[in-house]
Each structure stands twice: as structure tokens, then as C-alpha cells.
Amino acid sequence: MNTRDIVLIALFAAITVALGLAPRIPVAFLPVPITLQSLGPMLAGAMIGPVRGALAHVLVVLLVALGLPVLAGGSGGLGMLAGPTAGFIFGWIIAAFVTGLLCRTWTVSGKARPSKWADVGLTFIACVIGGIVVLYACGALWLAFVAGLGLAKAVSGVAVFIPGDLVKAAFAALIAHNVRRAYPIELK
């Protein structure tokens, strides 16, 4: 863990926080507006790798615990880490790790350097698995636990957000591909 690793970790934590400051998109029938914040773990995993991406989100969780308004809409504090959406907040750590691990295995250490659309496609699948499948599993498990709902009902409850997150995964893949081309960073 050298100084550059620490700077990159802090930078991607700051990117996740800044994405929460972007205007939110209210959706008529949903109780919570869609935010760009869940783009953060996908970007971190795909651009700085599993360990640093995960540590960036450990840092975000730490900032929430410290009482800083770093979550979308300016919320934060210990209450959020025990509230109904806590599974998603802690899940960012695992989501970034899985996204980064898949990206590193598929796109970077692969024998032949993948072509443009193969790279975007593989990064997209990594973001979907890490940033959606794994993240929603964490979110739904916690929700099922705190709400006494049972896993199946909790999953169907959060599933309404998946279409929006698929769009985010596509953006994350395009952004990661273009940034990697302009400024390649080893994933670790």
C-alpha cells in the first residue's frame, strides 16, 4: 500500500461521494429517487481494481459512520448504517471488489488484448455481476433480515431498480474503457 494507492483509494471514494451530489432522478411510483451513486463501486472496481476499489468504499462507509453527509441527498450518519438500505451501503465494498476481480481476470490479464467492443462488453458484464447481482444480493439479504420479509419478497422489492442500474453499468463500462485508453492503470 504505497502513497499512490492511498491517493487513488481516496480519489475513488471522493468520486462515489461526488456522484451522490449529482441531481437525483425522481421516479413516480418509487419511494426513493434514482441516484448516480451506485455508479461509484462499478467505476472503482473497473478502474483501480478489486482491493483498492473495495478499500475506497470502506473509506466511504467510514465517512458515513463519522457523520459526514456523503450519501445521495446529503444523508449520512450512524442511522444510515443500521437503516433499511444499509445492505446496499456495505454491499458497495463487495460490489467494487467483485467488479474489479472480474475486470482484472477478463480484460487486463487476458492473453490477447481484447478489441474495443470486447473490452467494453466484458467490463459491462463485470459491472453487472459485481455492481448489480452481488450488490442487490447484499441489499436484499439485509432487507429480508430487518424487515422479516423473506428473501424472495425482498428481492422482488428491490428488483424495480435493476433497469436503471443496467444503464449505469453500461455507462460505467464505456467510461472505464475510455479512461483506460487515455490513462491505463494496473488493476490491483
Binding site: I6, A10, I15, L68, P69, G77, G79, A147, A182, I185
Partner: protein, 213 residues
């Protein structure tokens, strides 16, 4: 980002040391999850609201923070009540309310520095065996604070330049140059930190800068 959620004050909750508040909050949470009785949950929620009121927070500010989570809680309460059991739904809703409000009350009355101190103390056994470094944690927290305004300013600059060229708002066209720009500056920042010999080598105040690889 508008400062921290902490508010100045002299309420009883403000005067309790941060470590004790956090330990009490953990016990409170564990106790609430060990029980399923809605009357107990109702009492816990009432106690939490009482604590929140005792902090002297502006009700409008508390509403801003809690409305979002409360809508989700109400939604869950209705879902559990309708799909599983009405009384369980009530217990679930009151438990989440109690946890959210109690956590918020502790956050409101504990300055960030005090909270950071508790966290450093919690990590200190790991620090001693070299697994984590409190100095590095503190450095990364302060770097995040430095990066957020840089990101916001740079996003505005890029957006204005693109608008001047007649470009529509486009998240891809904004985020790619923004991230490339900050990644480039990250190398300069890392070099500057290394040049100042920070963070200090493990367990030492000798000002040697050799342990940086």
C-alpha cells in the same frame, strides 16, 4: 457537501464521551434485533425520539435527514404487515425507526474528530501488529475532503467548456475527461506527499521517509 451533520450544543447527549455513546448504540441495536415484540419496539422508538428532541436539533433539519429513510421504512412496514403478519410489520417499522433515530442522535451530538478518535482507538490493536495504519486512515480521510471540491470545480470547468462548444449535457463526455484529469493529478499529489515524508513510518516520529515504496 455542507459541512458535517454534527450540531454544536450542550445537551446531556453532547456531554457523554463518544466511545460510550457508540458502545451504547451497538448494544441498543443488538437488543432490538434480539426481540420481536412491537410494544418494546414502540418504547425504543419513543426513547430514541426523546433523545433526538433532547439534542435541540432544528426540526426542519431533522425532517430533511429522516424523511427519505422513513418513507422506505413505511413501505417495508406496510409490506411486512400485509404479506407476513400485521404485528410483525409494526415491530419491524418501529425497530427501524428506533435505530435510524438513535443513530442520527449520536451522529448529531458527536463531532467528527471525536468519532475519528474512537475509530482509531478501535483499530489500534490492528495498527500495533501492522495490519492497518492509523496515519494512513487519517491521510485518506483528509484526501477525500480535498478531492471532493476539486472534482466539483473540474466538472464545472469541463461542462462550461463543452457548453461553449455547443455540446449537450452528456454524462459520458463529462466523466471521462474528468476522471482522466484527476487521475493525472493523483500522481502529482502522491509525489508531493512522498516528498514530505508523510505518512510517518510505522510507530516512529523520526521524520525518516524511507519506508515508502
Amino acid at each position: 457537501m455542507t459541512g458535517t451533520l454534527y450540531i454544536r450544543g450542550h445537551s446531556p447527549l453532547h456531554r457523554i464521551p463518544a466511545g460510550i455513546k457508540l458502545a451504547a448504540l451497538c448494544l441498543f441495536g443488538l437488543a432490538l434485533f434480539a426481540l420481536d415484540n412491537w410494544i418494546v419496539m414502540g418504547l425504543a422508538a419513543a426513547v430514541s425520539l426523546g433523545l433526538l428532541a433532547s439534542t435541540g436539533i432544528d426540526p426542519a433539519q431533522a425532517r430533511r435527514q429522516l424523511t427519505g429513510p422513513f418513507i422506505i421504512v413505511a413501505f417495508l412496514m406496510a409490506a411486512t404487515a400485509l404479506l407476513v403478519d400485521p404485528l410483525l410489520g409494526l415491530a419491524v417499522g418501529l425497530r427501524l425507526m428506533a435505530l435510524l433515530v438513535a443513530g442520527y442522535a449520536v451522529t448529531l451530538t458527536t463531532p467528527v474528530s471525536a468519532m475519528l478518535e474512537v475509530i482509531e482507538r478501535l483499530f489500534s490493536p490492528l495498527d500495533r501488529i501492522g495490519l492497518v495504519s492509523s496515519a494512513k486512515i487519517a491521510l485518506s480521510v483528509s484526501l477525500v475532503f480535498r478531492f471532493i471540491p476539486v472534482l466539483i470545480d473540474q466538472a464545472r470547468v469541463i461542462r462550461e467548456a463543452q457548453a461553449a462548444r455547443g455540446m449537450e449535457k452528456n454524462i459520458l463526455a463529462l466523466l471521462v475527461p474528468l476522471i482522466v484529469h484527476v487521475l493525472r493529478s493523483a500522481d502529482d499529489i502522491a509525489a508531493a506527499i512522498d516528498a514530505r515524508g508523510y505518512p510517518p513510518a510505522h510507530g516512529a516520529n523520526r521524520g525518516n521517509a524511507h519506508e515508502h515504496t
